[in-house]
Symmetry: C2
Subunit: 77 residues, 2 copies
């Protein structure tokens, strides 16, 4: 994959982190996925190793969990 | 400040996150501070709101705590 993927769930912590990450990394290098809305991508996020959102999955597959917005269980809830 | 500051303590989680952040943000836009070694910057990090390392303080003053390496208490230990 050529872009890092930022998974979030629309929570306030997520939105704040999203702005920071866009400023830091650049919007063209990011795919933004709201797994609260796009629920069919939850499984993909979990498979990538995402335990909570917001989280950034880098192009080499590493997962950076940023602050703490919501656990995947809460998102699925 | 014109650069984001990446605070870390040399732990394995920190080093891994450091590589990812350098790849994402670019080394020229980052100041890397090992507060395990440069202990006189611990107070500054705490004042910026850093609760654990690794953490990235953005140019607008937001703190992004990334994964979890060590609490500030552990670093001060």
């Amino acid at each position: 994959m050529s872009k890092s993927i930022f998974y979030h769930a629309g929570c306030s912590v997520c939105v704040s982190a999203e702005h920071d990450i866009i400023n830091l990394v650049g919007k063209d290098k990011l795919e933004l996925v709201n797994i609260g809305e796009t629920r069919n991508r939850i499984a993909e996020a979990e498979q990538a190793g995402v335990k909570s959102v917001p989280a950034l999955v880098t192009t080499n597959g590493n997962v950076l969990h940023i602050n703490f917005g919501a656990s995947m269980e809460d998102v699925k809830g």
